[in-house]
Symmetry: C2
Subunit: 437 residues, 2 copies
Amino acid sequence: MQTVSNTLCAWRWIAPILLGLSLSTAAFADTTTADGWMEGFPPPADRIIRNSDRDFFSAPKLAWSVCHLRELLPTKSLPRGLAAPVLLDYQLDSNINALEFRRSDTGVTMTWADAYTANHTDGLVVLHKGKVVYEQYAGCLDEFGKHAAMSMTKSLTGLITETLIAEGVLNENAIVGELIPELKGSAFGNATLRQLLNMTTGLDYSEDYSDPNADVWVYSQAVSPLPKPPGFEGPRSYFEYLQTVKPESKHGTAFAYKTINVDAIGWVIARATGKSVLELLSERIWQKMGAEQEGYFTIDSIGTPFAGGGLSSGLRDLARVGQLMLNEGSLNGEQLVPAAAIRSIAAGANPEHFAKAGYTSMPNGSYKSLWWVFHNNNGAYAARGVHGQTLYIDPTADMVIARFASHPQAANSGNDATSLPAYQALADYLMKQAGTP
Amino acid sequence: MQTVSNTLCAWRWIAPILLGLSLSTAAFADTTTADGWMEGFPPPADRIIRNSDRDFFSAPKLAWSVCHLRELLPTKSLPRGLAAPVLLDYQLDSNINALEFRRSDTGVTMTWADAYTANHTDGLVVLHKGKVVYEQYAGCLDEFGKHAAMSMTKSLTGLITETLIAEGVLNENAIVGELIPELKGSAFGNATLRQLLNMTTGLDYSEDYSDPNADVWVYSQAVSPLPKPPGFEGPRSYFEYLQTVKPESKHGTAFAYKTINVDAIGWVIARATGKSVLELLSERIWQKMGAEQEGYFTIDSIGTPFAGGGLSSGLRDLARVGQLMLNEGSLNGEQLVPAAAIRSIAAGANPEHFAKAGYTSMPNGSYKSLWWVFHNNNGAYAARGVHGQTLYIDPTADMVIARFASHPQAANSGNDATSLPAYQALADYLMKQAGTP
């Protein structure tokens, strides 16, 4: 898949990370779970992963890199504060691993445990009625580790934005060019904040990795935190790049998943509040939810946190965010974000706009405020990131599933058939156990 | 001071960080405390600090960079574990700021508060009888922040090494070339572990920044975690570089402060235990001492933590390490490291070896196991790093001083005259307060 010219400079590998996509979509070999990456003093030469490796975020190296991005790139702390963590309650259910479901593609029956392995899961926590009923780790992750959340970061940016809207700090109908004068001449200039939040902007922006002239390469180069080559004169930050984006079509008619919308939202948030999305996420959520670990964000060369995909965190801390969503903003007896913010997300957006993008594994879905809304009987919605990252909220089953993974295929179409029906089966099981009809 | 050719590649700026020295030793302007670095979305062009800036670890940018190294470089977490922090007890003494002492150079009287400012202090905590009697922050640091410890990192590596010696895992008289066969052909090959620990090796290694051919530049390039230029064929890690170091003189006769000794010790530790100094520091100390924050280390391109200067941490966590030293290895009722390890450090080394190096501000001193020992009446010893980093242990006064600073002059000779007599004056005051004659 690495059709891009090898003469391209070292930062080009960063594109798949920054954009939440992978150069490698073909390899499904078992080597993704091979041990020994970066082990030993020194590690064997063929087990070393460097930030100069173009393939460090593709299988098989992906299996290590998802837990170690800060060892490859400059990053910024997402502080948890200095208070004691608020520990989760446990009521583990040993029956879950044997739970059966049918794959949504082939119809073949498999177990939850089979799916855990098939999905290259690095860690999975299930909360039911606020208690941990399932917790498992594999690959590069354990309870002390941190894992790339990839595009689940978008959803946290969306939550912060909806919070600011609910509090009247931001207006969803505001014109972005009026909020950020620097963006007036760009495609974002005449879009509303809501259009960015639901990704219904019409942007002339290509993420086609097979095209060496695709916009994604200019973007990747612009936002890499690694030094540029001598004489480089292109954009050198999210802010500089966003100003160059040109319009392609009318805003507000179709969903089109383009990460750069979220970087623009990050700028809107920062301009309105004087704080980056990272600072707000720390102040409003990470320092308040009893987080066990500080997280971190990848950044650009001027320290801007990557609002569209930069977060790495502990797994249970991700689960805490899910419980916060399920509880409509309250956790440990405190209302951390307004219920209205979460209700707005869970209500979803226009499925007709969504249908135009052709996501077959979410036939009735929509994308609202950077969250994926299933519009199913349970009212489920999710944060999703490439390679299997998932934070799945099922309000009806009172269930949160937090999953980190390193599936060799970037697009979640590669694991939805063995994931979404498993989630539904677990929801059904838990409701039955709880006596809910 | 930037006499090095500007044609040199971008990673060359890293040398001062990695070696704990600064390209700038002349500038003492007040600009070091100027506000506004990296503030704003985006920051003003003249307030941006990038890792491609050659001067990012010199004044005035130093004042920001000491708190933000991970935003400029790849780093590795120093985990604190998931338990609640053990909070420090407080008995603040408001008289300390007015305490007077005489500068050791001019004899002029100044106050503790004057010295705090004059030394470009970013944060200072004093523990007396285990309680916080003084705590102050300034510049880029607050109680939630982390600051570069620079060469104080060496002393933590020394503490881990002495622990392993006390436990019989390492033998101080072992020949390094026998512990690490890869080092047999290098200057380290026929040195003992003790000679490395006390820096009495005779290494052909120049840290002369005015010489573009000095070894320090090859070293800096080798250990930088940023991508090398295409076609680069030199050493690419601490391990590879260390094998190239040639002997200059006989080992064991004179103290000569050369950071590369500590990187070699890091390798010895890793080979003997299967764990890096970072992992041991986390397991043995950071996870056990009730630390408030995880720390982090800068690393090379294969993830090796910089044993000679890579740590950044919270200030109170540094103070906890000091209290652990003062308590001869016990903290919160648990013996974390053997008392013998700390007694070996505090006893000091041969002052005759030390005198040959000409440190005028420590006339009776020695350097033992990577700690600076004063051989004064109080039995004081310290971890020290460039730009004013200090962890000062005074067993007689039952006092620990933890200080982070961003003094524009790298060498501590630039602040010892306004620091060491202040520490002694505070020790005298606290002993008097406590009724100790």
